[in-house]
Symmetry: C2
Amino acid sequence: MQPQARHLRADAARNRDKLLNSAVQVFGERGLDAPLEEIARRAKVSIGTLYNHFPTRQDLVDAILPERLSDLERITAEALADPDPWEGFVRFLGGLFELQARDHGLNDALARRFPDDSAVGAACRRGFAQAEVIVGRARESGRLRADFETRDLVPLMWAMSQVIRESMEAAPEAWRRHLAFVVDGLRADAARTIAVPPLTDDQLEKLMRGR
Amino acid sequence: MQPQARHLRADAARNRDKLLNSAVQVFGERGLDAPLEEIARRAKVSIGTLYNHFPTRQDLVDAILPERLSDLERITAEALADPDPWEGFVRFLGGLFELQARDHGLNDALARRFPDDSAVGAACRRGFAQAEVIVGRARESGRLRADFETRDLVPLMWAMSQVIRESMEAAPEAWRRHLAFVVDGLRADAARTIAVPPLTDDQLEKLMRGR
DNA sequence: CAGAAACTTGAGGGGACCCTCAAGTTGCTC
DNA sequence: GAGCAACTTGAGGGTCCCCTCAAGTTTCTG
């Protein structure tokens, strides 16, 4: 991450690192609700030390997830680089959920609400802004259905997070099949009029707020 | 439910009833992981009495959910009664998720794995068999895509359960919009070849087993 | 209506996890 | 290498929920 705010004692810096590594592992395997004591245990550090470095779970998550989310930026960039806007959009979805499938912590994070002030919240808002470009481009190309809005990605992410959570263990490719069905429904030529309007700003905000 | 295995003392029968009512409420509001003590509290009965009548959480769930699932049979029947197989299929999906949206307990139940020997497990297997008919009819009509199999409903139920869980509070209609996108992808004329095969029997069984 | 059987009660032990803090240890500075 | 600040430690108190069981209460039966 950063060079760490000045003057962290050598042992402290070492411990902080061990904690971060351990947290990446444990959150990755067990999701963001994993016991903090497990993280401390695997870092071979006492629980007190964990709390010393990261007073709250959110602090720990914030220290880890933005790094993970940077993979997302790579994916976004690739999507935008694709000359075919629709293909780019589809690759974006595939890449996004692939990330989620590889990391339970990230999967939890994206399916969950986050405090506005957290680093993760900020990263998500950034990601959302980039997604807007991808979606807009695909829609304007006429291949993505005209009534699809960026915010419709939110329920899709909830949905996929659950499919991934439930199926990764026994059928690690299953989520791709489900996604394929959904994607086929997002093509312009598959579109039928939908009676329900997109989420309003108010709803979106409420849904994003604390769990 | 049933007249209850002979000779239940009057007060015991009363308490059992209060517990069942309370459980319907509490599971409905908080999902199947709700604290049992809350159920006892609302039934105005001690926790010991709850355990006396229902030694395990599963016993309580089994005593309640099949009744709820019978609504599903009504929906299935309606779906089959529809002269248009595709419309019937779509109504079936709408009805199913509507049920889930109204009852958090049911939502949990359908998104979750169940012991084979539980009443709920049996009810689910029955429901699955009926769904097979609906899906088969719709597929043969040529409106439902040919590569959709009944077991593809499983990931869809996981997906929708999560969308419902996350959005019901702030945007009670949001799930319908998401479903509409998916449904548009299930039409035969929206279908593109999908590389990933359906779940195998083995995978399906593993996924259904204990949580 | 008395005695026996059926049922209820709630305090309490247990486990998982959270978080704190006083006492001990380590590293840095001069 | 002495002394002080920085850091670590882990036992322990708190919460929430699980489940049990000995003692008390209610219903049923003759």
